[in-house]
């Protein structure tokens, strides 16, 4: 059995816990990487925070459950949840099918001055998952 090469888009930043994030205007869009989705297996449940909830960089903001396991979701930046992907409760398989697109999880409005330090570039993340 071969493992297909994992995509790590260059325009994203990554956490060591396998979240990606993408600045969009004043917000940051957050999801889990294709590598994370493939390691989880079929995602069947995603628990997300309420809009308006505070999140802290490096701290859990939600939970993703596949058939076989439960994993925390870690916030890449500190701030306030400005939107959640409300289609995920009914279509959690989007996390596997399109982790960088339809499978996005939350949008965060970062606290002023959060420099998004400690995040990895695509190249560094690709090296991390290559082991």
């Amino acid at each position: 059995m071969t493992t297909p090469a994992m995509t790590t888009p260059d325009n994203l930043k990554y956490t060591r816990e396998h979240e990606w994030c993408r600045p969009e205007g004043a917000e940051v869009v957050v999801g889990v990487t294709q590598y994370a989705a493939s390691q989880l297996g079929d995602v069947v449940f995603v628990e997300l925070p309420a809009v308006g909830a505070p999140v802290t960089a490096g701290q859990p903001f939600g939970v993703v459950e596949s058939v076989k396991s439960v994993s925390d979701l870690f916030a890449p930046v500190s701030g306030t949840v400005s939107a959640i992907n409300s289609t995920l409760p009914d279509a959690p398989e989007q996390v596997n099918q399109d982790p960088y697109g339809e499978g996005w999880m939350i949008r965060i409005r970062p606290v002023p001055g959060d420099q998004m330090t400690g995040l990895l570039s695509a190249a560094d993340y690709a090296a991390l998952i290559a082991g």
């Binding site: 059995m1 297996g41 079929d42 069947v44 449940f45 628990e47 409760p89």
Partner: protein
């Protein structure tokens, strides 16, 4: 691939959920060569098995299979097994891989009192072909001479054919076959079956399928400390004839009719999410038990579980399971959750 009791086994071949659906809708293929197979023969074999199992193999005709449990002297479940009467005093016992050493030692311990030859069969491989299309797919790869006989097998029956044993059994709640054959031939059989459209399926799908089918997993739903009445397996105890003395009988007789124990129930998570082993089960806010096997049902698209709860509590009322500190409503049901591709649970 994951380590599994000394074997390297695939959790899935791509998508666990897709493999699960393949078994419910068409045909899936499992490599279950890790199962422990023992052949028994000799004039005392039937007496030996009747002493060791709570079910009664004397009820088997040649070519019949029987599910049952081995109990210890306290009535606890040593393992769950399938006994097949190959013919007369020739029997085959299939037990779990996790319990291999314990069960082989258990059989050895009782064997000296009986005239029975005992032959573990690590030389045999085993595949399970499961799903509504399983018999048709298998038919296309069998030797011509075997096809009519295999096609005529009734559920829980088996036949021998040139070193193979084919039985109409499984662990999925679907129709299907299990084939035990010399290990040297299993790769070719696997290729033929997949060539005919059988979808390889891993341990992950095997677990969600058996859980939907309401079937117990040893080590989770069954263990040495609980008797079959605790675990929803009272139906596997052959109380008649009353004079048959099997290991654990006295303890089970004492437990029978007493209402101080625990019982097995099925749970459906009312909202979205997944139930997991070990989660606490409550009735009206009071803890009454715990989940022994929990997962997500791909067929029902909701969380399902087997749980062990106090025997005395009623099925009605507000039942909840605690997930990450919050109580989530669950419905108490009678498994199986799914049989032959269809919803099958009933309210308790």
């Amino acid at each position: 691939m994951v380590p599994f009791h000394g074997w390297e086994m695939p959790l899935h071949y791509g998508s666990q959920v897709q493999e699960h659906h393949a078994v419910r809708r068409a045909c899936g293929l499992f490599d279950v060569s890790h199962m422990c197979i023992v052949d028994l023969a000799g004039a005392g074999t039937l007496d030996f098995l009747r002493h060791l199992t709570a079910n009664d193999p004397a009820r088997l005709r040649d070519g019949q299979c029987q599910y049952g449990v081995l109990c210890n002297e306290q009535g606890g479940v040593v393992d769950d097994i399938i006994v097949t009467r190959l013919g007369g005093e020739r029997f085959r016992v299939v037990s779990n891989s996790a319990t291999r050493d314990k069960v082989l030692a258990w059989q050895e311990r009782w064997r000296p009192s009986f005239r029975v030859d005992f032959t573990p069969r690590p030389d045999l491989a085993m595949v399970a072909i499961q799903g509504p299309g399983a018999l048709a797919v298998t038919d296309r790869v069998l030797p011509l001479a075997a096809r009519p006989r295999v096609g005529a097998l009734r559920p829980f029956h088996a036949l021998e054919e040139g070193g193979w044993m084919v039985s109409r059994t499984g662990y999925t709640g679907e129709d299907g076959l299990e084939i035990q054959l010399p290990a040297a031939g299993v790769a070719a059989l696997w290729r033929q079956l997949t060539g005919e459209g059988a979808q390889p399926a891993g341990l992950g799908a095997r677990d969600t399928l058996r859980l939907e089918a309401g079937m117990s997993l040893y080590g989770s739903d069954l263990d040495d400390g609980h008797n079959p009445l605790d675990c929803g397996l009272g139906w596997t105890i052959a109380w008649d004839p009353p004079e048959r003395d099997f290991v654990g009988r006295a303890a089970l007789e004492a437990r029978r009719g007493a209402a101080a124990g625990v019982r097995r129930i099925g749970l459906l998570l009312e909202g979205k999410g997944v139930l997991r082993d070990g989660q606490t089960v409550s009735l009206e806010g009071r803890t009454v038990g715990a989940i022994t096997s929990g997962s997500y049902s791909p067929t029902l698209e909701q969380g399902i579980a087997l749980a062990r709860v106090s025997e005395s509590v009623p099925a009605g009322g507000a039942w909840t399971v605690e997930i990450r500190g919050r109580h989530h409503p669950v419905r108490v049901v009678r498994p199986p959750f799914v049989r032959n591709g269809q919803r099958a649970w009933r309210d308790e």
